[in-house]
């Protein structure tokens, strides 16, 4: 059970990073259209 909290913390931060990455992809999409 002690293994769950660190996994949770890293996973949540990873998800947030993925969210930022989506924004980056969106930026690239818009820039490629120009």
């Amino acid at each position: 059970m002690a293994a769950i909290p660190p996994l949770l913390v890293w996973f949540a931060l990873y998800l947030y990073l993925a969210k930022i990455n989506r924004t980056v992809q969106k930026i690239e999409e818009i820039q490629s259209k120009k």
């Binding site: 769950i4 909290p5 913390v9 949540a12 931060l13 947030y16 980056v24 969106k26 818009i30």
Partner: protein, 244 residues
């Protein structure tokens, strides 16, 4: 150098995570071997509080200056704060199961923190429901400020009120019950998570700003920058030049 940062960072994350398992058991807990949940539980509410304070400050700055950059910063702060609020809740529930025997204890700390989660959920619900950028920015800033004081009350004052008995200790760090190995590793985890949070915050703000600028350009700058222009929604009498 830049290319080395990522592997080094990954290594540090791994080492700190492993270290938190190498630490000896802490006998003052009900289940000493599960005391190491503390390393990961403790930084979450602290960081969440710092981020909430930051979010409230940036919301205030937005209301003062009407500069949309503050709105982006406030949003990033609130988002990260919410991530850590959720983590606090999740790790707290696991801790509660391990040490008190049940996922949900109706402990005042748990209950008041659940209320905090709902308070801040309202912030995101509001943002999702509003389309007008400027109005969303100013009104969600107002909402963030309005929820800040009740949230701080719920986190810090309510569980300490006299008649309310909580299982949750509030003196484990201040009075040195956590020391030696445990204190060092706690600090280490805390520092690491803080650094990552700061990096993520900056990334979030930068990407959001770039995206906003791009979208503004493609709109032909239809939306005003905020700045010193008149607030939208105000009807002002104007005079039109005569045709003749």
């Amino acid at each position: 150098m830049n290319r080395l940062i990522n592997p080094i960072f990954a290594l540090v994350v791994g080492v700190v995570t492993v270290l938190s398992f190498v630490a000896p058991d802490l006998p003052m807990f009900q289940r000493p071997e599960l005391a190491r949940i503390f390393f990961w539980h403790f930084p979450c509410p602290i960081l969440a509080t710092c981020l909430l304070i930051g979010g409230a400050y940036m919301s205030w700055q937005y209301l003062r200056t009407n500069d949309l950059r503050w709105d982006i910063r406030a949003l990033a702060m609130q988002e990260l704060a919410y991530v850590f609020c959720l983590l606090t809740m999740a790790t707290g529930m696991i801790f509660s199961k391990a040490q008190w025997g049940a996922w949900w204890q109706n402990d005042p700390r748990q209950t008041s923190f659940l209320l905090v989660l709902m308070l801040y959920f309202a912030y995101f619900a509001y943002r999702a429901a509003t389309q007008d950028t400027l109005r969303r920015a100013s009104n969600s800033a107002a909402l963030a400020l309005a929820t800040f004081i009740p949230a701080m009350f719920l986190i810090y004052v309510f569980p300490r009120l006299d008649p309310i008995q909580s299982f949750h200790p509030s003196d484990s760090v201040m009075k040195g019950k956590i020391h030696g190995w445990y204190a060092y590793i706690t600090l280490l985890v805390f520092a690491l998570v803080t650094i990552i949070t700061v990096v993520m915050y900056r990334m979030r703000v930068r990407t959001a700003e770039i995206l906003r600028n791009l979208e503004e350009d493609s709109n032909g700058s239809m939306e005003s920058h905020g700045g010193n222009s008149a607030p939208t929604g105000v009807v002002r009498p104007i005079s039109l030049p005569r045709e003749d």
